[in-house]
């Protein structure tokens, strides 16, 4: 088999698996912290999927450093061999947003724990779930 095909299956497979293992944890786990952990695993899988989709074979990082410019002389030639920078910018945004959501979620977990003295979702049912 071709190297690139193996890479494709490995990257997409790993990211989709992470995504759905996270989703499984969110759907079935009863522990609040485990649920937040599941969310964070989901985010990770999704970010890998984004970066995977921007990859170009033999591509270089999208930075016009002096080293790259020396090798390829012109900007246009260098731009030809670079990976897609847009997905990287999007993932930067997504990682930081994911961190913010995780922090707020954990703060809520802590407050629920102080209030109910448990982190089990079955024992916190003042509202209907």
């Amino acid at each position: 088999m071709d190297n690139i095909l193996i890479l494709k299956i490995a990257f997409i497979g790993a990211s989709i698996t992470l995504l759905f293992i996270g989703l499984y944890a969110v759907l079935t786990k009863r522990n609040l912290i485990k649920i937040v952990l599941g969310l964070s695993i989901m985010d990770n899988g999704l970010n890998l999927l984004f970066i995977t989709m921007g990859f170009v074979k033999h591509g270089t990082a999208p930075i016009f450093s002096p080293l790259v410019m020396e090798k390829l002389k012109t900007v246009d030639a260098a731009a030809q061999v670079m990976v897609d920078p847009v997905v990287q910018a999007l993932v930067l945004t997504a990682i930081v947003i994911g961190f913010g959501v995780t922090a707020v979620a954990l703060a809520l977990v802590l407050r629920l724990y102080r209030h109910h003295n448990t982190t089990n979702i079955d024992e916190i049912r003042n509202l209907k779930w």
Binding site: F11, L18, I21, N31, L37, F55, H58, Q88, L92
Partner: protein
Amino acid sequence: MSTIITVIVVIGALFLVAAAIYAVHKKDLVVATVATSVISLVLSAFYFILQAPDVALTEAAIGVALTTIIFIVIIRNTKRFED
């Protein structure tokens, strides 16, 4: 891309899946959190392989260090074991 990198990526992908299953399965939340931070570490290496140094740097700093520490602090203040 060379064969060595392909082998590394395949091993890394299997490792990722194993770590994720371990993190979801394990009852000890601290161990599960550490497993998640290992996932972030492997992902950060993947981003380097995929030519995304900016993302790799961010993931290494946020995923490995900060997320793990806030999880650990919250676990320390609540219950360590899932029941």
